[in-house]
Amino acid sequence: MRTRNLRKNKNFKYLVAIAIILVLLGIPSYIWTKRNVTTLAGRYNSPMSPVILIPGSSASANRFDDLVKTVNRTYGEHHSLLKMTVHTNNKITYSGRIRSNDERPFIVVGFENNKDGYSNIKKQAAWFNIAFNQLKKRYRFNNFNAFGHSNGGLIWTLFFEKYFDDSTITVNQMLTVGTPYNFEEKNTSNRTQMLNDLVKSRDKIPEDLTYYSIAGTKLYTDDGIVPLGSVDAGKYVYEGHIKHYTLITLTGSKAQHSDMIDSNQFITIFHQYIVGNGINNPGRNKPNKKVPKPQQ
């Protein structure tokens, strides 16, 4: 009785249309779900694309507080800041937090043991990996930008070579400031053990990375601490392997190793390449998907 009434209803065809549309959309989505869950293994389509920052040696996770403030003020943006400190016992402490609708938050990862030296940097890279996995698990982002100050750049490089798995997550751009790929060595023909190691395993670095390396100079040769030649040695690691490798030389006032991140020139470069605002950087919005290598 009721169904007959319904059939007489001239809107019956609209109801049928709704059902048909749903079924038509349902079949491909069923196939997609099955494929997505099994192969993409949880690449979450998070809109978030953080900037992850690593400070140099003897600096804490608070190192970039002013940088974030300056960027927010200069460009009228509102990036939130999360700071993590990895302790020597692998425990992580947090301060600050990511605002829930922030698509480009800043995440600083510092270390309790923030000493200089190859052996310490290796440890720090391992600690960073712990922090990175935590972040990945918690926020499920699928791409990010990297920033490293001084030894922070070495930690990034080691991390990419030893720990990073680019099948599930993409690093878009990296920017480093005064990263001493050859420590205090001016002459690139004298390669340190670390540089040799970094060059040797450079194949593991993700190939679609775009990397900007900033070197500061005060008197043509160094930024007061790191020699130009040592920063320039990064080319042996990156050049010819990644998509783009650019070396930028910064001079003038505030070109000193530790002051550089306060300089206006640096802020401009940092914002342009690492933060972006959707206007300078339209490519950021394109779907960023990669089919992972089949799992063994």
Binding site: L6, N9, N11, Y14, L15, A17, I18, I21, L22, L25, G26, P28, S29, Y30, I31, W32, T33, K34, N36, V37, A41, G42, Y44, N45, S46, P47, M48, T74, Y75, G76, H78, R97, R99, S100, N101, K137, R138, Y139, R140, N277, I279, G283, N285, K286, P287, K289
Partner: protein
Amino acid sequence: MKVQFKNKLEERLVKTTLKIQHLLIYRIIQRTLLLIFPFALFGSFIKIIQTVVIGREGFLTDIFPNLNNDFVYRQIDNITNGLYNMSLGWVSVIAIFGAAKYTAKYYNRDDQIAGLVGISSYLIADYSYSKVQPISFHPGMLGMRGLLFAIVLGMFIGWLFKKFSRPAPKLQSNQVPTSVLERAFISWKPLILSLIIAMIFSTFINVTYYSEAPGNFINSLATEYTSHNDWTQLLKTLLFSLYTIIMSFLGWSGTYSALGVEKMDVLSTVNLNYALEKHTAWNAPNPFTSASLYHGFATYGGTGCVLGLIIAILIVARDKDFQTVARWAMVPSIFNISSGVMTGIPVLFNVIFLIPFILAPLANMLMAALAITLHLMPPSVYPVPIGTPGPLIAFIATNGSWQALGFSVLAIVISTCIYIPFVKMAVKVKILDNLGLEEGEA
């Protein structure tokens, strides 16, 4: 035409609604909503193309092979952006024009100027002090989110015109220019006053927008606060859903969005990690997250299960207007874009629909919670592309669980059944209202 009531309750509800509808404020709201309806409807179709077809991480882009980021894709993107931003994207501006105009007209003031002052005021209030572009506005407030604010501010401006200007002389076609000029100066005072008040709002909005204080607080509560007790979880999800639904009813927006993904809360992330490890959604540690209850079962057709309303209208409403709106809004609604129905019926601010608007999602969520508790279906844990049709969300988010699909169909039936009596009442209200209008009551 004679209207008969089934029982006392229905009669009382219909009478109360009628009384409210006769209020001046309500009349203005209703006319304003009808004014924005065509824009909202057009915009909702564009929105489908934008988010579902070409959007980043959109439903169809995910499911079908990617449209590449080539020239054609870019052009479609640009065109739809323009069309959307200037239709559904700025309905609040249209709304304030309507609200100010109708209010001023009611008091026999210069309604055209009032409407235009309304637009200026709203744009001033929404002006963003950007350092990147010379002229820019907070886009969120121009769209549906700003609707309540726009209507209130519009009525306030209309009221200012009543308070600070005298009735505008009727413009005759053969009138001399001097009286036209006089007419302009009549509205001088409320014009300045409105713009100054808008400027105060603007400063206030810019300060709070940047700190995003209130929304942020609620959002962080929703995403950061966690509890390991299932029942507190259930309560929390229900509360935030209720908040979202009520806010949407007022044209605002709540914690959970019907379209698009908010960042996953901690509990959902735990669920997803569990599911990826165990390769199943069954027995996920947090069964009552917003994803498994609200997004999976309470957003069919957009906030408030309006797909149920549309189906209910198609089945029972004999009213021509309702039917036309329902037919047109059907397609966007499948993709959870509800602005057409919200403004066309209208559902927004409509007392009679407030009850099912809250009741239907709540009933569906409780049904889903019960089914999950009884292990009849797994909770939704996997991410779902943006703009996935409401009834398919649970299905996709459980990795194609047929039980979940079954309960989704049941949820549609439940929400339709809840809406049916209210649709019947709404039709009666409309008939009585029209009768009243013909008799010259209002």
